[in-house]
């Protein structure tokens, strides 16, 4: 399946791209993260501390074990600091 992967805040800075199109068969967010990590040192650095990474699937907050079936947009970002 084809996914749009978005990065925000320091994840965007570490990867040096705000978005990328990814072809993957990963079943879950966690499996996708493993694939992304293997893309190179920038991705590995961005996903080094998963305790500091949040994920949204099609713009809803989700967890790392969430399935990717039917999802089109995956976003990774640090804990939010609004207000």
């Amino acid at each position: 399946m084809k996914l749009t992967v978005l990065y925000f805040a320091w994840l965007r800075e570490r990867i040096a791209e705000p978005r990328e199109e990814v072809e993957t068969e990963a079943a879950t967010v966690g499996a996708l993260v493993e694939e992304l990590r293997a893309r190179g040192p920038r991705h590995a650095a961005a996903f080094a501390d998963m305790g500091a990474v949040r994920v949204a699937l099609d713009q809803d907050l989700a967890t790392m074990d969430a399935p990717l079936a039917g999802v089109r947009e995956v976003a990774f970002f640090p804990p939010m600091t609004g207000g």
């Binding site: 998963m50 949204a56 907050l61 804990p79 207000g83």
Partner: protein, 164 residues
């Protein structure tokens, strides 16, 4: 009933006054307003605060939080305005306003909106000062503030035991 995510500065006093007049016409007896301001560092030195957000999800998350507040309390009206982009110390970042027949609902709903939008709406703050830029870390207190509302509305997205 309104959520606005925008770049341009807004006039908090004018927004609050317009909200109050509309709420009065709608029969409300109580209005609570809150605004957040870019705070300088102790002793100064903050040049800029930049807020990044996730267009699309931001509006969706804020609308969801507002809908939950309206479900929990008897609100006549609610407003959330949140800016993004670069701001200087002293500038208004955001505001919430709630109106209800009685004050308890308006106060509680305003606190609920603030607690949720701090930790569940996709905004990220970056501070620049003394030639250095730094992302603002999420505070455990902000996460803990959500627990008093029960966690059904927005469970913690990752089980990382308070690490942030």
């Amino acid at each position: 009933m309104a959520v606005r995510v925008e770049h341009a500065p807004f006039d908090y006093g004018r927004e609050a006054a317009a909200f109050e007049r509309a709420a009065a016409r709608a029969g409300a007896g109580a209005v609570v307003t809150f605004c957040g301001i870019v705070r300088d560092r102790p002793g100064g030195g903050l040049d800029c605060m930049e807020i990044e957000h996730y267009p699309g999800m931001t509006e969706r998350a804020l609308a969801g939080i507002e809908a939950e507040a309206r479900h929990r309390w008897a609100l006549s009206a609610a407003l959330i305005v949140h800016r993004y982009g670069p701001m200087a110390p002293g500038e208004t970042i955001m505001m919430v306003a709630t109106a209800a027949p009685h004050r308890a609902d308006a106060f509680q709903a305003a606190e609920f909106l603030m607690d949720y939008l701090k930790s569940r709406a996709p905004f990220w703050k970056k501070e620049t000062g003394a030639g250095q830029a730094q992302w603002v870390a999420a505070r455990d207190e902000d996460e803990a503030a959500l627990s008093r509302w029960g966690d059904k509305a927005a469970p913690r997205p990752e089980g990382d035991a308070g690490k942030s």
